[in-house]
Amino acid sequence: MQYPAVHAQNLTKHYTRVRAVDGLNLRVPQGAVYGFLGRNGAGKTTTIKMLMGLTRPTGGTVRVLGGEWQKDRLAILRRVAFVDESKLLYGSLTAIQLMAFNRSFYHTWSDDAAKRYAALLEVPLDQPLRKLSQGNRTKVALLLALAQGAELLVLDEPTTGLDPVSVAALLHILTDQNRSEGRSIFFSSHQLSEVEQIAGWVGIVNDGKLLIEAPSERIREDFRLVEAVVSAAPDPPQGAEVISARRTDNRWRFVVGRHADRFAEQLRSAGAIVEVSSLDLRELFLELVGKRQEQCTRGNAGSTPARVL
């Protein structure tokens, strides 16, 4: 049966005074590498905690590998590898002891893979973790997840604290795991270049809401920044997908996900001076979650989180 690796619908987490996650819809296809982006405090880690069954949503549903946490907790955990944000493991144990400890939980564990990844990531195996640097502890946490043989890897900021060589090695391993073994990978990151490098899908979250979810290819090919000098923003034409609209005086910046040319044409016909340019992930991210002088929610801009296929 084909089901998404992760499927969250209207996911909500409210604390007493904070709406950490607010009606988030997310779908990670099987076999995808999904980069989950957002600023500090955007709701990434809370979302990941809910995806991993570590905190109960206030509302909405989560299905991981087709299972629900309340009913299928152990079955899901057998098939999912998770590296949390802190990456804190037992300081008294060495990496070898931790590998032996972790092996006992998973029949899919591979000692060969563990050795291979340990060599690639240059993990010190025989020192207690408390004596290792933060970067090396992160490597051990990643090593345990990678050798687990899981169908889905959920990694919360996996490259934090790693040196550039280790980051490159990790990205290579993740790509390899995805391509050769078909593993789904869901990871959060602040490093847009890493996401751009390996993620086939991108989700951008801000203030607990998913602003966009789209294949990277679509972002490169279809997403456009439309800048216009116009007195008032027009309604977008049928089919055009205005994801965000920002205004400084009479100068507008629209991020358009589909039929940007059609939208630009309409603006021109209304007498506007229009400029259309392509967007890379960094520019898109800054347009969507950067500080806004004025936000327009006219048309379909800023409405329900966009899933762009």
Partner: protein
């Protein structure tokens, strides 16, 4: 494997406590064999049967009670805050809770390892005291002395269990120790206060230790119901801990 991990984390504390308790409990019975002479206190070994009985009685009724209470609280507090509650304390809880095992497995495994260690420490401590008494009096006065093991054992388990539970409840081993120490002091002092001011008999596990008449027979039986009752109190701690741990949200 989690049992191995709990043992690995606590093994140095276990060995330290084992040695410390064996030495303390062995030394705790020595004052019973001291005799006051013109030259001061002198250690006298052996003696008449009545003296031997008195030495064993004093040793069981005072020295062991005082030092046993200290050992009980020390072992219970130290081991109760190690192992599994320590895993809740640190952010390592993320790792633990994402392993494919029922949460109750971690609670009961962690509790069992620590409980085994507490019982081993108290047993060997009492054995050390027994051997010291045999050395001091030159004979085994009564094998019933080993009845002290379940009494000490259950007392230690109560302190261990409550520290274990409070460590998980507060998700902080430090807070667990503080609350447990407070609770232990209340358990020790409240029954005495209630008895003195209101003449009401409140159960206390220290009473099990403070009255060693069963050691000599004389129609006084081993406090089996007291031991069983306090065992249930100790075992209720992991039950509550399991309930709490199963509902922990991060």
């Amino acid at each position: 494997m989690y049992a191995w991990k709990c043992w690995f984390d606590t093994r140095s504390r276990f060995v330290t406590l084992l040695v410390l308790c064996a030495v303390l409990l062995a030394l705790s019975v020595v004052p019973a064999a001291l005799v006051h002479t013109a030259h001061g206190w002198v250690l006298v070994r052996g003696g008449t049967p009545s003296r031997v009985a008195r030495v064993w009685g004093i040793a069981a009724g005072s020295g062991l009670v005082v030092w046993g209470t200290f050992v009980m609280s020390l072992v219970g507090l130290v081991l109760g805050s190690s192992g599994m509650p320590g895993d809740c304390n640190r952010e390592t809880i993320y790792f633990l809770l994402t392993r494919p095992r029922r949460r109750g497995y971690f609670v009961w495994t962690g509790f069992a390892v620590g409980a085994g260690e507490t019982l081993a420490i108290t047993s060997l401590g009492v054995l050390a005291a027994f051997l010291m008494l045999v050395y001091l009096t030159g004979r085994v006065y009564t094998w019933r002395f080993f009845g002290v093991i379940p009494i000490f054992g259950v007392g230690t388990l109560v302190v261990y269990g409550q520290t274990f539970l409070l460590g998980i409840l507060s998700r902080s081993t430090q807070d667990g120790i503080t609350y447990s120490l407070g609770l232990f002091l209340a358990e020790v002092s409240l029954p005495v206060a209630v008895n003195r001011f209101w003449n009401v008999h409140a159960p206390s596990f220290l009473q099990l230790m403070a009255d060693p008449r069963w050691l000599f027979g004389h129609g006084v039986h081993f406090p089996i119901y007291g031991v069983l009752g306090w065992s249930l109190v100790a075992l209720s701690c992991p039950v509550v801990a399991q309930w709490v741990f199963a509902r922990i949200q991060l």
